[in-house]
């Protein structure tokens, strides 16, 4: 066996590693590739959780930037991001829409009463059909829409202070959403 051939395994390994790195950086975008990105948010019509007689459609979301958050009471991560959502609601003028995904309405109402309600609208998606339209992997997921109703950002996973500072805040500023107060930006680092 020649000396040079002993380097072959190392070469193969380095190419696999490079592939792994590239593949990894593809998926490490913090967002699973969404078919919706830079596309209009789908048309929908859903019942409001708080006022079941009211129907909310996409038209209600147009005209200003919207943060759409998919959540459920059965999802522990949703609970951990709730506080951050409360801060965003308190300190910005973005329209916040919650989609209560595959959930039991009574529990959801109880949750909002107990932990506070950051949303301007809460849509009742107990059968998950709206979730399918949006290509939801699992709760929580968050979409940021511009005033024209196009998805400009999607996050799979929780909105924590790091995501807020690094991902959302710059996009909020780009969309000219008013951000008051400092605590939302600097909350626990």
């Amino acid at each position: 066996m020649s000396r040079a051939s002993l380097f072959v395994p190392l070469g193969i390994f380095i190419s696999i590693l490079a592939l792994g790195y590239v593949g990894f950086s593809l998926d490490a975008r913090d967002q699973l590739p969404s078919a919706l990105l830079n596309k209009p948010f789908p048309e929908f019509s859903a019942t409001s959780l708080l006022q079941p007689e009211v129907k909310i459609t996409k038209a209600d979301l147009l005209g200003r930037p919207v943060l759409v958050n998919v959540w459920a009471t059965w999802c522990p991560t949703c609970k951990s991001e709730h506080e951050q959502l409360m801060r965003i609601a308190a300190e910005t003028n973005v329209l916040m829409v919650g989609i209560d995904y595959k959930d039991i309405p009574q529990r959801a109402l109880q949750w909002l009463e107990q932990y506070g309600d950051p949303y301007d609208y809460v849509l009742d998606d107990r059968d998950g059909s709206l979730g399918i339209e949006l290509g939801v992997y699992g709760a929580p997921e968050t979409f940021l829409l511009n005033a024209a109703g196009e998805v400009v950002y999607k996050r799979v996973g929780d909105i924590n202070s790091r995501i807020w500072v690094n991902e959302l805040l710059p996009r909020f500023q780009a969309l000219k959403i008013e951000v008051r107060g400092q605590s939302a930006g600097s909350a626990d680092g």
Binding site: L6, P9, I14, G20, W74
Partner: protein
Amino acid sequence: MIPELGHFSLVLAGSLSLFAAVIGLSNTRNSMLQRSVVSMTVGQFALALLSFSALVWSFATDDFSVAYVANNSNSLMPWYYKVSATWGGHEGSFLLWILIMSGWMLALTLRGHQYPTSFFTKVLGIMALLNLGFICFSLFTSNPFIRLIPMTPIDGADLNPLLQDFGLIVHPPLLYMGYVGLAVPFAFAVAGLLEEQVDSAWARWSRTWTNMAWAFLTAGITLGSWWAYYELGWGGWWFWDPVENASFMPWLAATALVHSLSVTEKRGTFKSWTLLLAITGFSFSLLGAFIVRSGVLTSVHSFAVDPERGMYILIFLALVVGGSLTLYALRAGQNSTQVAYNFLSREFFMLINNLILIVALAVVLWGTMAPIGYEAITGGRISIGTPFFNKFFVPLGLVLAIALAILPLLNWKRTRVEALRPAVFSLLVATVFTVFIWFVLDPTSVVVAAAVGLGTWVVLSHGVDLFKRLRKGTTLPMAYIGMTLAHLGFSVCIIGIAITATQSEESDVRMAPQDSVMLAQQQVTFLGVVEVQGPNYSAQQGVFLVEPESSGSYELRAEKRRYFAGNNVMTEAGIQAGVLADTYISLGEPLTNGAWAVRLHYKPLVRWVWLGALLMAFGGFVAIFDRRYTSLRVRDAKSTKTAAEALTQT
């Protein structure tokens, strides 16, 4: 308090492994320092055990102030699932990984007197360095002891219901024993390269550990496959899912290593190749961890997806594998021995075996990684499915079986053609048997005939060899018994795979109560659905009466469970297991008028797949007890060198 104790123990274990790694790899000849590495290894195990016990304790006492417990447990779960939930999530399973790594190191110290001290110190040093990497990974990216204070939840989120099962209690520990166990031959290979001692004696030291790790890996994969079969409700037992592939790749490399090591031990050749396989095996364990934990490939198994973790593992992988392969490239060429052998020799057939296994490994690697490459280049997504893998694995498995059938008759170096007569004889018998099966069962595919024929041939030719040896009156070495068992297991496995893949019957039907359908000469009647309550779920249980034509009838119950905490719905198939066939019923969705969508399977010989694999694992364990390995008493490097040279010259 208890979680903090666990956390602190883990930090201490990490510090000990740092010291052990530094001293172990420092080339010191100071015997006190060398002994200190052994003590630190023992201490590290004790601390890892303490740390793990602290986490188990937190689960057992429902301490939901610990974030990991809150996310993976629930006060309603039965106690055994609370305990097994310790390794149900990412953080805890990694702590188990560390505990097992420390356990292997502890086991090594029990055998330490059998190896030259400087070599053994290196082995421990390498293992400690690896373990340090694992502990840092746990502490910095996946700490299971982080608290949720002051926002302590009242109850936990529950363990993923898929994992609330006996299979999960035993599957990860066994699999990890295998994954992590491959670190031992890896450390032996690197230490052998560093100490420039790779010879027959080295191979003999390594074989025990390799066999053990391989047997655990085999058993772990088998259990995983069995779990998927009855828990996922799809009736399949292998899905070529990236995570399954991640465990299959190290297994293929380790299987090749087991065989190549035997050549290196007996003939002193194939050295570079053996070293490379030892490095490859463990590298694939790490790659598997990367695939599963980084979320680079989406899969049903990837519960925790976190880019930070993926990056850490990728860097770790680059250092460990890159480093060892560089060392290999620089050192492996030295002292290579040329040993001549004939075409009809054990060496040559081992080469065929290794070649097939490596091609198989390349196929799985390609099938697993190609989707990533495709996405990187084109931005699109593809998925590589079962047909791709089957196209390669069917012929590879069959060729492997041919090599296996001839192998027992071959000598090392060269074999006279006349010695192959028993092989021809047993081939004839196997052919007759296959034709008989063909007529009785009427299998439609040629592959089935080939698998049955070759499987029988392997059994017969091993039987003939066994008979010859027994007649000579020699006592059979354990290694020989183990090998024979493992090879028989392989035949059982391929026969099972071929039959169950082609002869199974499956139907998806709509059934109202009192409806009957025929499934493989059995009348299946749907009696109706009853409500049952489990400890942390409620279920709708479909009751079925199965009446075979021949023997007595029995009842099967398939459940659709709704778990309270996560509101997840799970199916639990009703299975009548049999050596010859399984009858498998799973409940689908409720339809109108009390009718249900029902999936019925009849799967002949499906048990053989796992029985065969378990037989392989059992063979691996048996081989460990061979006297050649248990009675090693070698004190210094010099005597082993001469012994090894003496061996290679014969």
